[in-house]
Amino acid sequence: MYSLVKYYHPYISPFDPCPPMKVKSYRTPPNLYIGFQPPSLPQFSPREALAHGTLWPIFYSPYPGKGKEEMTRE
């Protein structure tokens, strides 16, 4: 399994003017890992598919917003 978000610790200088964000993150969505889509993958129902923006759960990549990952990894 792969993670949909990666973290790194940027260099912090004593001369940085803003309080440092110790951990930064970026997204790595499922399309980077799946390759050519295999047939007969499990599907959402039509309503769920619309709500998730995709028919296949394997491609669903939630996005929390507001830099939440940085907060939780402090």
Binding site: R47, A49, L50
Partner: protein, 86 residues
């Protein structure tokens, strides 16, 4: 003069949006997987579902598809609301 759309307008529309979304997803999938029989069967099934749902919707709320839907009298295509107004 203002009309408010009843709750059925929204619920029926959302049902259509859900089925049509499956058709969009299967279309893009089949564009790169043209020999997946199971997906083609599923596509045809939902295409039929979509037609059925739209027929019901149009009976109550007027035409959905330009040049394809039937009109009542007077001409109903240009009746409000437009999609961005609802």
């Amino acid at each position: 003069m203002n009309k408010t759309m009843p709750p059925e307008y929204y619920s029926m529309l959302e049902e259509i949006q859900a089925v049509d979304f499956v058709l969009v997803e299967l279309t893009l999938y089949l564009d790169t997987h043209p020999t997946d029989k199971e997906a083609i069967q599923q596509y045809n099934y939902y295409a039929r579902q979509s037609k059925k749902l739209k027929k019901e919707f149009e009976k109550q709320f007027g035409p959905l598809l330009q040049y394809q839907s039937y009109s009542g009298y007077p001409w109903t295509w240009d009746d409000t609301p437009w999609p961005w107004q609802v």
